[in-house]
Symmetry: C2
DNA sequence: GCGCTGACAGATTTCAATATCTGTCAGACG
DNA sequence: CGTCTGACAGATATTGAAATCTGTCAGCGC
């Protein structure tokens, strides 16, 4: 079965990710991808209409993989404040890990964030939705007092931009970073909390 | 008196600012500055040891001018929450105005922020100090409950990064921006506020 | 037929020669 | 004397010609 290996979008994405990692976003070409797959570059265009769409698809896959732990956390149960804190810290950790371990892919993501809005916007919206889920759980539990959950989820996302937006990546390794994250999270939690009943 | 106009650092800075505005950061050269002043470029190097130091000095002047209204606001009296909100909104407005009215200088500032840390770091520290001043006034007034004023001032500064850091400038013109600022500020104020005594 | 190839036009990138700029300094000029 | 000039070396930027890449498509081979 499969005596001659078929060319699938999946295989192309795999090869593209390899090529990107090997040559970097700036140097990688569609011809390189085709060479890696041992086909003509015309064949690649049969599956993806443009180089940009190929790059976007790779980035989307990468983002989806990165996002998985956050989806799970948002779906979990337990006290909302703890879950929110955990969710935020996990998001920061994922980003920081990526920027260290997979710098070429991170550069790709950064370039994408700059000139191919749609994919990244959708991804952000998804994350805000996850945040909103945790916040509304907190409201249901009576531990958060929030008027407009969606707007507040956005506000939390905006407030933490410094620790998840790639534009600030170079600051994440600094020694004072953890304590600043600490202060930020506790300020935000205090702002979300419902007044205690005693 | 002053029959032959003397070459002062001040005059050089003036001319440099003009040249930057005219040609943009990428194209402006020390030779251009010298030409504008009708001296040889060697003379400019008598007052500034390098092109970078000249650029930094121009940016510092520009930042100081921009900062002035914020200093005044921090020094004012009145209820801290209102002053904090006003201070933040003023900072956002200044940045937004600059990016519209003076795009070349803003580009200079952006480039500076990327590769000449010191000047910009000092400027940020100053702003955090101003914020801390307002917060500690609020503590004195009994309207803010804050453990570590300095750390909280940093947290507020970090939380609002999206609306004052040049990396996010392109988002400031979007229509949903004001309502997101609204949500962010009210979340932060809620986090700072002392529990009401009734 | 279906999927792939390879040649092609136009756009983009590379590369090396050339020009310009940065930063220095010995000496002119007042 | 102190300030400024202008020539200089090395670094950086510009330029335009050649190479490469992107995206298309007619036609080959299974």
């Amino acid at each position: 079965m499969n005596e001659t290996v078929v060319l699938t979008p999946e295989r192309i994405l795999e090869a593209t990710e390899d090529v990107l990692r090997r040559f970097g976003l700036a140097k990688a070409t569609v011809v390189d991808v085709a060479r890696a797959l041992d086909v003509s570059h015309g064949s690649v265009y049969r599956h993806f209409p443009s180089k940009a769409s190929l790059r976007d698809a790779v980035a989307k896959r990468w983002l989806d993989r990165a996002n998985e732990p956050l989806c799970k956390l948002a779906a979990a149960s337990g006290p909302a404040p703890e879950r929110l804190e955990r969710w935020l810290r996990t998001m920061f950790a994922i980003k920081q890990k990526k920027v260290c371990d997979d710098p070429e892919m991170f550069a790709t993501y950064l370039a994408l964030a700059q000139d191919a809005r749609e994919v990244v916007e959708a991804y952000k919206d998804k994350q805000v939705d996850l945040l909103a889920k945790v916040l509304s759980d907190g409201v249901a539990q009576g531990v958060f007092a929030i008027d407009d959950v969606k707007a507040t989820a956005r506000a939390v996302f905006d407030a933490t931009v410094r620790y998840h937006h790639p534009a600030h990546a170079e600051e994440w390794a600094k020694p004072e970073c953890p304590s600043r994250i600490e202060a930020l999270i506790s300020l935000l939690l205090k702002g979300l909390e419902a007044p205690r009943k005693h």
